[in-house]
Subunit: 382 residues, 4 copies
C-alpha cells in the first residue's frame, strides 16, 4: 500500500485511520452526525476480511465490540450524544475489565436529542465522568483530517497499550467538513498490536497482573488459557474479591495506569506559543478558528499563540501550567459552557487569568467571535 | 397523622420522606444496596392508592417515571451505580423536557458492577456529568436518617419548583444503617405541589415559558392543553427548533434556573465552624466520621470544624469560599478519588490548602482514618 | 590487600569498614539487631592482633572502649536501643573528656525493649540529646553496604579528627540485609590516625589546648606525659575548675568544634535534586524506598528528588535550606514520629512545606507507602 | 493537718509537695544538688509509714520505684545530671509499661560530672529524648517554693492520671535557695489517687485498655488479677506482640495520651503579657530574673511581659503561638544553649523574632544580663 491522497469528510478520515490501525470489527447503530463512520466501514471492513454489524441499539453495539475485543480483535464503535449516554454502563465495564476498544463520539448539541446536525463540544465531561465510580479514561480529538487520521491510529494504539477504552471526541463540523487527507504507506506510522501472553497452554495465566513495564499481556478469550472476566473487583486471576486491599489496588491500577502516564499519552500542537502574551487553548473544530485568528493577529504584531489539545483526558495539567506560566491571559476556546476551561483554571498558577471564549448555540465559533471576546478581556470593549 | 418514631434503615427513611412528600408513582428495578427503597414502597404505595411497578430494567424504570410525572404524578425511582449509568440517557431527556422526578442512587463501589455491598461515594461527578451536553442538575445527600427523611422531601419539593430531575446521592453505609427516625405530623414540613397552569381549556398554553418568578406551570399531559414534549431544542410551545437564538436561550435557561439559584437550593450543616483552624468538608456517611473526629479533637482543644454538605449540585462555591476563608487547611472527607475535593479547590482562595482525606477500598472511612491523614497534612506523619 | 568483593549483611559491612579504618579494640554486649557486628569482630580482630572483649553489660562496654581509646587504640562498641540508653552517661563522659570512639546503634523499635527484630529509626534525637547537659555529637548513617563501609571509616576518621565520640546510626533492615560490598585495596580510602603530641617526655603537655587548626594532639595515657582526665569542667591541663570563664570556654569548645565545622562533617548524596519539585529527605533503609520511588516516578515525568543524609548530627541546616529552596514540598521519609522532620522544618524557609512520610509499626516503609503519603500531601488522597 | 508556714530550701518544698500528694515510697542515690530531697524524705517518709531506701546506684533506684509503683504505691526518686542519664533506660521502661512515677532532676552544669554545685538548665532536651524510641513525657518545673510545692503535687497527680513517668526539672539555684512556703491544709489541693480496676477477682482484666475517658485502671501487681508487664510492645493484656497494628496502636497511645492532652497538662503563669511588645519566655530560676526585669522596666513604661512555663513537656506550642502573636520580639531566657528557644522558634509564626537570652557558665542569669541582651536585640547596643 503506497501513499494515497483523498478529499474526504472528517468521519471518513477516522475510518481511514481505523483501517490503517488494523480495525477488524465494528458494531454500531446509526446516529447523526457520526453515521458516515459506520457507513464507510460497512463497505471497507468486509473487503479486508473484517466484520461489520449494525446492532439493534447503542448498548448492544458497545457490548458487541467488547466481546469481539476479548477474542483478540481490534474494535471500534461510533455514535453521537444520546448513543454515547446509552453506552456509558458498558464503557465502565470495559474500564474495569481492561478491554481495549475505541468509541468515537461525533458531538452534536445536547443534552438529549438536542440539536442533531449542529456542532457542539458539550460531551467533554461526560467522556470523563459518564459512567459510575472512579475510573480513568483516554479521550483524543483533532482539528483537521490529517490529525483525525493520526489520532484515530493513536486511539487504537493506546487502547492496546493500556488495555482500556479510548474515546475519540470528534465534533459535527470536523466530521462533516471535507478536506485533503494523505494516507501514508504502510509501516510509516507505528501500529501497536495486541500484546498476547507468551505463556504456554495450561500454564497459570494472570490476565490482570501487569508486567514490569506496566503492560498486561492478554490471551484470546476461549483460547488456551483460563481467563476470568468480571465487572466486579477482582484479583490477578479475575476472581471476584471485596478484600479492601484488592479493591484498593485494582482501583488505583485502572486509574494510575492512565493518570500516571499522562505525559506519554498527551498529544498537542503548539502554534506561536513561545513568546505569546495571550494564549488560546482549543481543540477540535474550534481550534481552527483560534489558529486562524492567531495567525491573523500576528501579522499585526500581536503576540497570540494557540495550544491545541489533541488529548483531553487524562488532562495534561502540567503541560498547561508550564505553557501558560508567562501568559497575560489564557482564553479557552470551546463550544460548551466551559468544560475544558474549568480544567485549565485548576491547572494554572493564576486561575483569574483564564477566560472562556465560547459559543453554545449550534454555530461554529468564528475567528471574529473569538476576537470580540479577546478585546473585551483586554479591556478594549467589543 | 401524628408524630411517629421508628427504628429503621436509611433506605426506609428515604421511603418515609418520599411518602411524606406525596410520592404517587415508583418504577424501578432492584439493585443492591438500593433495593429496600423499592421493597418498602412496593408495600406502602399501594396502601395509599399510589402505583408501584417493577420494570424490566433500569432504562424502562426511568422512562416510566418520566411518563408518569408528565401525567401529573409525583414520581421516584431508585438504583445503584450500574443502574444509574443506564438511566443517564433518560435523565438528560428529563432535563431537556423539564420534567420533575427524583432518582435515588444509593452508591456502592464502582466502576462497573464493582463492589456491590460496599460503600462508596464515587458517583458524584456522574450525577453532574453522566448525560451528554451542557445541562445542570440538583443532587442532595444526607448523613443520618432524620436528614435523609428531610432531604428526600426537599428532593421532591425542588423537583417541582425547578421542573427538573433531582438526584438523591445516598450511599451503602447510610442506606443500610439502622437508627431512629422521627416522622413529624403532617403539615409540619412544607410540601411543594405541582404548579399547574391556571389557563383554561383551549387557551394557548406555553409549557416552556417561565413566569416572572421563574417557575413554569405545567399541565397534566393528555389533559386540557396542547403540550409538546421533545428532547430536541424547542421553543416555548415545545416545537423543535435549531435557530441559534432558541438553542441559546433554552440551554441558558435549563442551566441558569438551577445555577443562578444556588443559594436557595443549597443545603448544609455547620459543626463548630466559627473558630475552626481545620475544616472538614464532607457529606453522606463519611460526614459521620468527620463529625465524630471533630467532636473528639475539640475535647483536646483542637479547633476543628465540619461543613456538612447536603446539596452537592449545584455546587455551593460561594458558601465554601466564605466558610473556608480563615482555615489553615481544608480536608475534603469523601470515599472516592477526590470528586468534591476538586470542586472545593476551584472554590477557595488558596487551592493549595485543600486536601483529600479519602478511602476507596469499600470500607467506611473512620475517624481514625481521617485523623491519620490530618496528621500527615499537618506534617506530623501517621 | 587487593580489592575484594563480598556478599554480606550490613552489620558485616560495618565490621569491614571498622577493620579498614584500623580498629584495634572492641568491647560490647550482644543485643539484636546489632549482634553480628560483635560476632564478626570477635573472629576478625584477634586475627590481626586486636582485642575483642564481651563485657558484663552495656555500661561496662562503653567504659572499656573509653579506657582503651585513652591508651591510644582505635575503638568501637555496638548495641541497640536499650543498650544505647544505658551507655548515655559514659557517652557524655567521652564528650567532656574528648576521647575518640565509635558507637554503633543498630536501631530497632522502641521505647524500652520494644520491637526487637523490627526496624525503626527512633533513636535519632536520643543520639543528640541522650546524655545530660549541652554537648554536641556526630552521628552518621547509610542506606547501602558500600556506604556503610565508607561511613564507618568516616566515623573512625571523624572521631580522631575531632576527639569525640561518633555515633553510627544504622537500622535493623540495613543491618540484616545482604548485598554486595566491594572492599577497596588498602590506601584507596584515606585513614585519619591518632594525632599524637610531638612534645618530648617531661615537657608541659596541654591535652585540652587546641592547635591553630583546631585539633588537639593526644598522648597515650600512662605514657610519657602527665595527662589529667575528668568529667568535671577543666582547664587546658585537665584540672577541675568552676571558674565561669573556664566553664564557658570548655562548653563552647566541645560544642563549637563540631557545630562550626558542620560543612566539613556533613555527608550526603543527591538523587535527581536539581529540578525537583518534590524533595524527599531520608536516610538509612528508608532512603532506599525514597530513592526507588523517585526513580519510578521520574519515568512518569514527575520531578521528584531525594536528598539522602549520611550525617544527621551536626544537622546540615544550611545544606537543607539551599537544596529545598525551590521545592513545592519536602517530605521527610523516616521511621519514627518525625525526629529529622522537626530539624528540617527548623532549617527551611517555609516550614509549612515540610511533611512527614513515616511508618512506625516495625515494618520497613515502602515506596508504595511513601507514594500514598505523597498523594495525600498533594491533595490527591490515598 | 492545718496550714503551716515554713522557711526552707526548694528541695524541701519538693519533699513537702510529695508528702502532700501522698508519696509512699522513695528510692534514690545521693547526688548534688538533689541530695536534700532524699535526706528529708529519709526522715519524713518512715514517720508516716512510708518506705525510704538508699539503693546501690541510680539505675537500681529507678527500678525500685517502678516495682513499688506496680504494687500500688505512689513513688518518687531524685537525682541530678549523671544520675539522670543512668536512669534513662528504666524511664523508657516505665513509659512503655505505663507505670506512674515521679523523677526529680535538680539540674547542675553538664555534660558528664560537669559543674556539680552550679546551676544549669541543660537537661531539658534529655528529659524529652534521653531514652531510645519515640515516646512522650511530662516534665514540670517552677521558679519559687510555693510553685515547687504545687507542681510536685501536680507531678504525682499527672503520673497517676496518665499512667506515666513525670519529670520534675528543678535546678540548683531554686533547689538550694531558701524562702517561705505555705503548706495548705489537707483537702485544699486535689489529689489524684491510683485508679484501680473495679473488676472482680478472676475476671479478665485488660491493664492496657483505656476507658472511654482515656484512663487505664490498674490492679496492684501480685494481687487479684493476672497482669502482664513487659517492655516489649504488647496487646491489651500485656502479651508481647510485633503485629504492625499492635505496635502502631501502642506507640500512638503512649504518645497521644500525653501529646493530645497538652492543654490539660500545660501549666504556666503570665506576667504582664496582655499588651507586651517584648515577651520573655522562661522557667525555673531564670524566670525569677526575667520577672524581676519586666517589673522594673514596666516602671519605665516599657511594655515587657513574661510567660513563665511550669510545664515544658509536652511543649505548649499552641499557647506560645497565641501569646506571642503580637510581640515585636520574644526572648527565651534560659541557662543552656537554647533548648527551649528551639521549641519556641518552631511554635511561633515568625521564628526570626525569637532570640535567646542565656548564660551557660554556671552562674545564675541576672536581670542585668537579660537587659543587656534586650538592648542589643532592640538595636540599642549593650
Amino acid at each position: 500500500m503506497s501513499e494515497k491522497i483523498r478529499f474526504i469528510q472528517g468521519n471518513e478520515a477516522c475510518v481511514e485511520g481505523a483501517l490503517y490501525a488494523g480495525i477488524e470489527f465494528f458494531a454500531g447503530y446509526p446516529i447523526t452526525p457520526s453515521t458516515e463512520i459506520a457507513e464507510h466501514l460497512s463497505q471497507r471492513l468486509p473487503e479486508r476480511g473484517g466484520k461489520f454489524i449494525q446492532m439493534e441499539d447503542e448498548i448492544a453495539s458497545m457490548c458487541a465490540i467488547i466481546g469481539a475485543s476479548l477474542t483478540g480483535r481490534k474494535v471500534m464503535t461510533a455514535t453521537s450524544g444520546p448513543g454515547f449516554s446509552l453506552k456509558q454502563e458498558a464503557i465502565g465495564y470495559a474500564c474495569m475489565t481492561e478491554i481495549p476498544c475505541v468509541i468515537a463520539n461525533v458531538q452534536r448539541g445536547g443534552p438529549s436529542t438536542g440539536n442533531p446536525t449542529h456542532v457542539s463540544q458539550g460531551d467533554v465531561n461526560q467522556a470523563r465522568w459518564g459512567t459510575h465510580g472512579d475510573h480513568s479514561i483516554i479521550a483524543l480529538t483533532a482539528s483537521n483530517h490529517q490529525d483525525i487520521f493520526n489520532i484515530t491510529i493513536d486511539a487504537f494504539n493506546l487502547a492496546e497499550t493500556y488495555r482500556t477504552p479510548v474515546i475519540l471526541l470528534l465534533d459535527e463540523s470536523i466530521g462533516h467538513l471535507r478536506e485533503k487527507l494523505t494516507i501514508p504507506e504502510k509501516g510509516k506510522i507505528q501500529i501497536v498490536d495486541r500484546l498476547r501472553t507468551s505463556l504456554g497452554k495450561g500454564v497459570d495465566y494472570h490476565p490482570y497482573l501487569p508486567r514490569e513495564d506496566g503492560r498486561l499481556p492478554m490471551s484470546d478469550f476461549g483460547g488456551e488459557h483460563r481467563y476470568n472476566v468480571t465487572g466486579l473487583f477482582h484479583d490477578m486471576w479475575g476472581f471476584p474479591s471485596n478484600k479492601p486491599e484488592v479493591v484498593y489496588d485494582l482501583l488505583r491500577h485502572i486509574n494510575d495506569k492512565i493518570e500516571s502516564d499522562v505525559n506519554a499519552i498527551t498529544r498537542y500542537k503548539e502554534h506561536f506559543i513561545d513568546d505569546a502574551e495571550y494564549i488560546f487553548i482549543s481543540y477540535g473544530s474550534s481550534a481552527r478558528s483560534a489558529i486562524h485568528l492567531a495567525k491573523e493577529r500576528r501579522t499585526k504584531g500581536e503576540r497570540i499563540g494557540v495550544l491545541e489539545l489533541q488529548s483531553i483526558w487524562p488532562f495534561p495539567k502540567e503541560l498547561i501550567r508550564e505553557k501558560c506560566a508567562n501568559a497575560k491571559a489564557v482564553l479557552v476556546v470551546e463550544m460548551n459552557m466551559g468544560q475544558v476551561m474549568a480544567q485549565v483554571k485548576a491547572a494554572v498558577h493564576k486561575p483569574d487569568k483564564v477566560f472562556l471564549a465560547n459559543r453554545i448555540d449550534g454555530k461554529l465559533i468564528t475567528p471574529a467571535d473569538i476576537n470580540k471576546l479577546l478585546r473585551v478581556i483586554q479591556g478594549r470593549g467589543v
